[in-house]
């Protein structure tokens, strides 16, 4: 092998674009560790007790995991096949409500069917996939921006229908839905997980005992921690699944569709079928994300505040931050968005208050801005800190515009996986040398569908 810097760089680049497994895993692990340290530090800085610090970290881990899950699902559709689905929130709603209705307590209101949880989750994914099929049919024959409008309309149809009174006995309508099955972590630790006053079982006793000796007496927190870690495992499974999908012959056709649908069609691929399949798979995973996040995780949904189109845009921004087209980028983007852009700003006003700064608290934007004319910016600063919720959205919006203008491939650089199974540039350069040097990773032997 030649050792010229250019060659070595291109080897590196191939490794990145193909997603050298070790590098990516290390990157994800380091990111997660860094976020844990950061949030633990925030908790400690704010002088929370041990349970409080752990709570901060657990809350962050949960959000990172569920965002990563939703972003991975979206990446299958947009990153791989270029299908611009902005109805993610709707499919997540379908997943969350389905798992509640299928596995919820038959005695609760609205009544569930009381099926075992695994069936409930699989059912939720299946129903989300079927709703995806319904949405896909009119949409996939249209150009990308029509698909965008059709899917956002679909998600609003789902959300407003869930709110509608005629279906109140099934969905709870404006009251929301609370009759969710208890999450697997709670089932693991309690004798009667559905009952709030239930005694812990043997495993629960042991685990709660360990945490109590560490100064964490809140058993709910232990359950949340277990659930968040379980979600990270599920993210890992979905990550591997998406990766295999992307590298399979099926995934290569998808990437070909993304790059140039006409070419894929000319090569004899029924692109419509491929698009419908990946759309359904993505929707199933969005349903899974909804079931695990708002359903089993939050145990309570209400369409007036959950599943708004805003949620879809969060997930999109996370994907764009990470770099669409790459599974590693998806998870990274989900983590960075959930932890740094979504959650961290909520701690800012607490952190600022520790500075002993007595910031003025103007009652309105006018009172905040007028002192600027007398060169006093503090009321404006105080106003912004007090309204950090709105500021967060403004920053997200500006970030999105900046990303599209300057980093259309994602904040973390160009990570789009190439459509071919081997790097074509690389092979060109090596023409004439021994062909086997690159053969180890090549999957060229497999037959296309």
């Amino acid at each position: 092998m030649s050792n010229s810097p250019r060659e070595r760089l291109s080897v590196l680049r191939t490794r990145f674009s193909q997603g050298g497994g070790v590098n990516d895993a290390a990157l994800l692990l380091v990111t997660m560790l860094a976020l844990w340290v950061l949030f633990a530090a925030v908790g400690m800085y704010l002088q929370y007790d041990t349970a409080g610090v752990l709570g901060t970290v657990v809350n962050m881990t949960f959000l990172v995991a569920v965002y990563a899950l939703a972003v991975l699902a979206l990446n299958l559709q947009w990153g791989y096949a270029g299908l611009f689905n902005i109805g993610v929130a709707g499919f997540m709603a379908v997943g969350a409500y389905s798992v509640g209705i299928l596995s919820g307590d038959p005695g609760g209101t609205p009544a569930g069917f009381g099926l075992p949880l695994p069936i409930g989750i699989l059912g939720a994914m299946l129903i989300a996939a079927l709703v995806g099929l319904v949405a896909a049919f009119p949409a996939l024959r249209l150009r990308a921006d029509y698909l965008a409008i059709a899917t956002v309309a679909m998600s609003e149809i789902i959300r407003t229908t869930l709110l509608a009174r005629p279906f109140a006995e099934i969905t709870g309508a404006g009251q929301g839905f609370r009759n969710f099955p208890s999450n697997p972590a709670r089932t693991l630790y309690y004798e009667n997980p559905g009952d709030v006053t239930s005694e812990p079982n043997a495993i629960g006793e042991a685990v709660f005992g360990v945490f109590e000796s560490l100064g964490v007496a809140r058993t709910n927190l232990v359950v949340d921690l277990t659930y968040a870690l379980l979600l990270l495992v599920i993210v890992g499974i979905v990550y591997v699944l998406s990766r295999r999908t992307g590298n399979s012959p099926f995934g290569r056709v998808l990437k070909a569709i993304r790059e140039d649908e006409l070419v894929a069609e000319s090569l004899g691929k029924d692109t419509r079928l491929f698009k419908i399949k990946i759309f359904m798979l993505g929707c199933a995973l969005m349903g899974l994300a909804g079931a695990l996040w708002q359903g089993l995780g939050n145990q309570s949904v209400n369409p007036t505040t959950n599943f708004l189109p805003v949620l879809t845009f969060y997930i999109f921004i996370a994907l764009i931050v990470g770099g669409s087209g790459s599974n590693t980028g998806s998870v990274l983007g989900g983590a960075v968005f959930a932890a740094l852009l979504f959650l961290l700003p909520t701690y800012i006003s607490n952190i600022v208050s520790t500075f002993n700064l007595t910031l003025p608290r103007p009652n309105s934007a006018v009172e905040a801005v007028t002192p600027l004319f007398s060169a006093d910016p503090m009321p404006l600063v105080g106003f912004v800190v007090a309204n950090i919720d709105s500021m967060r959205f403004i920053i997200i919006g500006v970030l999105l515009v900046w990303l599209m203008q300057n980093r259309p491939d994602g904040l973390l650089g160009h990570r789009k996986e190439v459509a071919s199974s081997v790097d074509l540039m690389q092979r060109d350069r090596k023409r004439g040398q021994t062909a086997a040097t690159d053969g180890g990773r090549s999957q060229g032997g497999e037959s296309d569908e």
Binding site: P138, R143, Y146, T161, P166, A168, A365, L400, M404, Q405
Partner: protein, 368 residues
Amino acid sequence: MAVSDRTSWGGRFLDNPAAFVAGAVAVLLLLDLVRRLVTGALGPATLMTYLWTGLVIGLIYGLAGIGLSLTYSILNFANFAHGEYVSVGAFSGWSTAYIVAGGSIATLGDLFLLRPPAGRVGVSITSAPLAVVVGLVVGVVVTVAMALVLDRIVYRPMRGAEGISLLIASIGVAFAVRYLLALVYGTGRPGVTAGTRRFFVGDTLGLGRFIVDSHQIAIIVASLGLMLGVHLLLTRTKLGKSMRAMADNEDLARVTGIPTERVIRSTWILGGGLAGAAGFLVVLTQGTIAYNIGWLLLLLIFAAVILGGIGSVYGAMVGGVVIGIAQQASSIWLRGPWSDMTLPVTFALLIVILLVRPQGIYGGVETT
């Protein structure tokens, strides 16, 4: 611009079974409407009320839709921030109307922030016509200014980018503007219009009595006037012809020597101004204002534009009125708790249009 042969299975009407289903449902609903009118289950006055309120709200959708349709066809992207142009027109216009009508009842700052109760300020077309007119004009001017500034800092550096990139950028713009409004005006939903004069019409025509209020008349006058202006601009002036040329074929327009940047600027002026006017007027009929008012309207505006055919100005007007009337008239069938289904059904209509006739009623522009 090459027309792809994929249109052949994309937009054909006759070999599309969904078209027949949609058509059959429409005919059934129409027959049922006639039955209800004949049997007296539906009074003519009620029907007239639906048609009238639908026309009023539909004209506003159409007004906002013209801008969306123009930017869609000339700049080649679906502007998801268009709803926020509507909101900005509403807030800037109503702040101005409050300041003009409020005088000394509260501080200038409180009037600007729409804080004093609507009853005390008393802005309505009959009690303070000057405030309404000045508000409308300022709403339009501010929205135009914002559209031009946003074009300069957001869209111009991205000229020639893919439609999807521009679409995503416009989502970012929508976020930033919407929550800037929330930051300034708060997230409440205050009422801002004072009560207005109501007329009962229809008795002499034998249609029963239905209510028409002076705000609705003002909206109809203002929106029809603006639409007439747009029509004259597009058909009688060189600028209008350039705009239509660019909507049809940008490359050809450029070859012919049309100054594309100037046409784009005019598009934003026209589209932003009409959106701002629509925002001011929609508050006049709804009575309340909220930071997300434009976002809530956006999908309905999209429905109007798609129904009319993207790129068609007249299509947007007709589409808006059809969507508005459909929304109101759906109450004939969706009664009691089922009235909650009005919005889902309207959005479903949007998807059905995409399924049956993606090029819209007047669509001539490419649909692949």
